[in-house]
């Protein structure tokens, strides 16, 4: 018997578990499924439903001798509690005996079920939960065959009561387990739901405006153990047994949530989370859940289009590809390889991106490729390569002793499931959370420390923290000696960033900077998460890299940096070398670097022909559009006829992520494979296949038969991706890492759980004796003096005006329209109310925007969503900019 474990007997089977384990979890270890409704693995136990009643006995202790009483046979006497106990709230104790299947326990559970069913309607045939319903299953297993209650006395409630646009409540079916309410409070930190009244009149309500305002509302339908909460999207879509389930990975943001595509007759009927404790646990956000309608949209491109007499007309693949081959060859002949360039969207898979760069580098012979358009235009993110979070990092376990520093990211909007995990680490598991940002975000509510800096001074703050760590002598000296170079120079440079001075520049209290630096440096594990709102400059990244190395928070699990990049495969695009100056695997190019996307779209680039895949620069700015119009020949691979595609000479229809297989690399460098879920519309091809065909027309002989085959080459050519064959990526996860008992998670695990594979960073390599990392210092851009006017922040919102989301009608009402968020005081000062229009101007550019008063916005700041219809903010802050000082006047 060790100090930290407890041995008990459940239904005659001995089981040893850690101290403090609940009986229900202990029973799970020996595959003994104690029925539950209100208990959920991810939430605190409440013991509300009483379904898990079991008989519990403990060894009797003799009061005088304080020794266990022994019977004649010399065995300890077990004294059972007179009443049954709830297995979900009772922790185990040494020598405990639990009877789950005793006659008395069965009888009690039968009684509980009879009570739960007194008012539960027998409408299983029309219920979306039917077939995957814990209440249905447990009633069949444990319940009484009939009820003694009067049918006429049933509690009646309105059916199909809309809880917002996305969720429908059928209160009659509800058994008040409060899983939804607790999910919203404990996990989503959006207390949008509540229980009102009590007893039989108790019901679920939402008081937020708009109703049930949360990015995570769809999860409540998953955790609901009955059919009380169902999604508007899947409503009556199909019966659960009719669905075919394909494992997939969400393609809306860089978190890379594992999903299940539930399909029927070649259509996606719903998207559910697939368990992966290392990525999304059992959650996905509403954008991922409801934003799948682009796949089956009637607006999709179905045949290649070729421009003839100024019009795009349908053509065969052979015709279109021949034309692309001829034109590209001719342009290369006339103007050299550097007359051609390519931009690939970071929504493409690793296989597509690898072949994209291979096409340009090997076949055409140019380095003019890039994936960074818009906000990420100046991004040169290699932090993941150097000091990215260590392999095996698991935010679902990060807690006490860990510190998380978030800089310049509104996680709730930019990477929702990452928000859940970071907030959970702080609020539930006791991690120290430091949230640094230019404005208040939802994460501030969970953060112990909020550092509010002036826009443009994020780098100064990072350097200030670094200087404070050095000043307070919290440096990991031995670690620096062993793995980094240039500490002396860095130290010297940091002398200019004394806390007091940084406090003055950034507007953050000096004490707070010191305290935050101390907390971060002294933590056992430290993770830095930074977003694009902190500024896209290399000075910031150098400072954060140095901070991670100097504090020793690099090169091991649960330590390092996470960059919150904008797209599903932004990480993979950098890994695959779809940048002008780096080859796959971050090796620098031989000779001169090519043109970046910004240079290619600048107009005077000298490019004659371009290949653009899965990205829409023409929609970003009018200048880009003009540059594209100036090209001799433009080829676009797209799902839809986007603004860019409308300018193209050849448009090639491609498959969406659900229609093909491939891999994405997420923010934590986890490479994850997704399967084919539905057939593609018309004649669409996978992007990699299109690239193979183009390469073939240009004389290359590429022999790739599948995405799998491309990945096989990547594993050979890119050392970072060694061992990432599809075979390994799709290997199912061991039972220890997943819950096979669906009643505990409130959803059905209908597709394999997979874990994905992370590649090791340089910091991890040098922990094992690899080359030392240089500590860099880059002088930050000078801070502009105080100007009169508002600081306008163009920030990313979850429901933006993206092309893919536009196809999902169910979230239509949540999609951000052009607007400007102001504080109440500022609005009063300007004499405007909600909905009134204001003119926002800067340097002669002015746009009119309707006002929305928001209490999260500070005085003097105005927040406006990026990437919405008309792109008004980008006009003011620039497509790659974050903030600007503007004048706001009443129109």
């Amino acid at each position: 018997m060790s100090d930290n474990t407890v041995t008990l007997i459940i239904d005659g089977h001995q089981v040893t578990v850690p101290k403090g384990t609940l009986i229900v979890d202990a029973a799970k270890q020996i595959e003994n499924e104690i029925p539950v409704f209100c208990y959920h693995t991810k939430m605190d136990p409440v013991g509300m439903c009483r379904m898990c009643l079991v008989e519990v006995g403990t060894p009797a202790i003799n009061r005088e001798t304080r020794q266990p009483e022994l019977d004649e046979a010399g065995k300890p006497v077990i004294r059972f509690f007179p009443k049954p106990m709830t297995a979900c709230t009772t922790p185990v104790s040494e020598g405990m005996v639990v009877k789950v299947d005793s006659e008395s326990a069965l009888e009690k559970r039968k009684g509980i079920l009879e009570f739960l069913l007194t008012s539960h309607p027998l409408d299983c045939p029309v219920c979306d939960k039917g077939g995957e319903c814990p209440l249905q299953d447990l009633t069949i297993r444990h319940g009484p065959g009939n009820s003694r209650f009067d049918y006429e006395d049933k509690q009646r409630f309105p059916k199909r009561y809309p809880l917002g646009d996305l969720i429908v409540l059928d209160m009659e079916r509800c058994i008040i387990c409060t899983r939804c309410v607790r999910f919203q409070e404990e996990i989503a930190h959006d207390p949008a739901l509540a229980v009102e009244n009590r007893g039989r009149r108790a019901h679920i309500v939402s008081y937020t405006d708009p109703v049930f305002d949360s990015h995570y509302s769809g999860n409540t339908a998953d955790v609901c153990p009955v059919g009380a909460l169902t999604t508007r999207d899947f409503r009556f879509g199909a019966r659960s047994w009719e669905l075919t389930n394909a494992p997939s990975v969400c393609n809306h943001c860089g978190v890379g949530c594992n999903t299940v595509l539930s399909t029927r007759t070649g259509q996606i009927k719903r998207i559910m989370p697939r368990q992966n404790e290392a990525v999304n646990e059992v959650w996905i956000c509403d954008k991922g859940r409801f934003g799948h309608h682009f796949n089956g949209s009637p607006n999709r491109l179905t045949t290649p289009l070729v421009r003839k007499d100024g019009e795009l007309v349908e053509a065969s693949w052979a015709e279109a590809l021949d034309l692309v081959g001829q034109k590209f060859a001719a342009i290369k002949e006339a103007g050299g390889a550097n007359a051609l360039g390519g931009i690939a969207g970071a929504r493409l898979s690793n296989e597509d991106l690898y072949l994209f760069q291979k096409l340009f580098r090997d076949v055409i012979g140019a380095h003019n490729i890039d994936h960074r358009v818009g906000l990420s235009a100046t991004l040169e993110d290699e932090t993941a390569y150097t000091v990215g979070v260590g392999c095996g990092t698991d935010l679902s376990r990060t807690g006490k002793g860990a510190a998380i520093l978030v800089i310049g990211s509104d996680l709730d909007q930019e990477a929702p499931v990452l928000y859940l995990r970071v907030a959970g680490a702080a609020a539930k598991r006791g991690a120290r959370l430091i949230n640094a940002g230019g404005r208040q975000t939802k994460l501030d509510a969970q953060a112990q420390t909020s550092l509010r800096y002036r826009y443009g001074t994020a780098t100064h703050l990072a350097l200030g923290l670094l200087a404070s760590v050095v000043e307070q002598k919290l440096v990991d000296e031995a670690g620096i000696e062993a793995r980094a170079t240039g500490f002396a120079e860095l130290k010297k440079a940091l002398q200019n960033y004394a806390t007091a001075k940084v406090a003055d520049v950034t507007g953050v209290d000096a004490e707070e900077i010191n305290a935050a630096a101390k907390a971060f440096a002294e933590a056992d594990n430290g993770i830095i998460i930074f977003g694009l709102e902190a500024g896209n400059d290399s000075a910031l990244r150098a400072a954060l890299e140095a901070l991670a190395l100097v504090t020793g928070h690099a090169g091991e699990a649960d330590n390092g940096l996470i960059a919150v990049l904008p797209h599903a495969n932004s990480r993979g695009a950098a890994d695959m070398g779809v940048v002008p100056d780096r080859l796959p695997g971050y090796a620098p190019v031989d000779g001169e670097a090519g043109l970046s996307a910004q240079e290619m779209l600048a107009g005077e680039s000298g490019l004659k022909g371009m290949l653009i895949a899965g990205v829409d620069p023409a929609a970003e700015s009018e200048a880009y559009q003009a540059a594209l119009e100036g090209l001799d020949f433009l080829v676009v691979q797209e799902l839809f006829l986007t603004e860019t595609a409308k300018l193209a000479d050849v448009v090639l229809p491609v498959k969406g992520a659900a229609e093909r297989d491939g891999t994405f690399t997420n923010l934590e460098r986890r490479v994850q494979a997704f399967d084919i879920g539905v057939p593609a519309p018309g004649l669409a091809w996978a992007d990699w296949l299109v690239l193979v065909a183009i390469a073939g027309r240009l004389g290359a002989e590429w022999l790739y038969a599948s995405a799998d085959g491309v990945m096989a080459e990547i594993t050979q050519q890119v050392p970072l991706y060694a061992g990432m064959e599809f075979e390994n990526l799709t290997a199912p996860v061991s039972l220890e890492r997943k819950t096979s008992h669906y009643i505990y998670e409130g959803m059905s695990f209908t597709a394999d759980a997979r874990e994905g594979v992370q590649w090791p960073t340089l910091a991890e390599n040098n922990a094992e004796g690899g080359p030392k990392l240089p500590l860099r210092f880059i002088e930050p851009a000078p801070v502009a003096g105080d100007e009169d006017g508002f600081t306008l922040v163009g920030s990313r919102f979850l429901y933006d005006g993206g092309r893919l989301l536009a196809e999902s009608q169910v979230v239509e009402s949540r999609i951000r329209q052009p607007q400007i968020l102001l504080s109440k005081l500022d609005a009063q000062r300007l004499g405007v109310a909600n909905g009134d229009e204001v003119t926002v101007s800067q340097n002669g550019v002015s746009v009119a925007l309707p006002v929305k008063i928001n209490r999260m916005v500070a005085e003097g700041t105005a927040v406006a969503p990026r990437n919405v219809a008309g792109r008004p903010v980008e006009k003011l802050v620039g497509p790659g900019g974050v903030y600007a000082t503007v004048k706001v006047e009443k129109t």
Partner: protein
């Protein structure tokens, strides 16, 4: 020899007797399709989708028939009733309901599985078609005919409990 003649004659006479006897009985065969055929009450012929007395469809699109079907010949797609467009009394109705009569083995499991007694195997057995595709019966052909003008309009609040402020104590 004589004995043989006598026995064979009697045999012939007996056989003729049987023939003559049946000559005067009613025939068991029917002149189908000129004459209608009587079937037993529990005969399982072509499916019919029944209606309620008020004209609304009984089928709620639950697809339990499709789940029960051993030949997988039933295809159901459900949709939601609204006040403006109501087909069945509850929330859900069958937007698409198709039976492939070529696959169907008329086992009646569908009718047994039906929670609303909407699908019933009735007595129509003459299912010959000129085109194989015509043997796939859409909902319109399966649905019991009903005078559309007699369909009672039922509003949502007559079907469901509708408390304006059910949060009220």
């Amino acid at each position: 020899m004589i004995k043989e003649v006598v026995t064979s004659s009697t045999e012939i006479a007996r056989a003729m007797g049987v023939t003559i006897k049946y000559f005067f009985t009613k025939p068991v065969t029917h002149q189908f399709p000129d004459e209608p055929v009587e079937v037993y009450p529990r005969f399982r012929g072509r499916h019919v989708l029944k209606r309620h007395e008020n004209g609304l469809e009984r089928c709620i699109g639950c697809a339990l028939c499709a789940a029960a079907c051993p030949t997988d010949c039933i295809y159901v797609e459900a949709a939601e009733n609204t006040d403006d467009e109501r087909y069945s009394p509850g929330e859900r109705y069958a937007k698409v309901y198709t039976i492939n009569m070529l696959r169907c083995i008329f086992c009646g499991y569908c009718a047994e599985a039906c929670p609303t007694e909407a699908v019933v195997l009735e007595h129509d057995f003459a299912l010959a078609e000129y085109d194989r595709w015509d043997a796939i019966y859409p909902k319109e052909r399966l649905l019991e005919p009903h005078d559309a003008s007699k369909v009672v309009v039922v509003r949502d609040d007559e079907v469901f409990v509708n408390v304006s402020r059910w949060g009220k104590k």
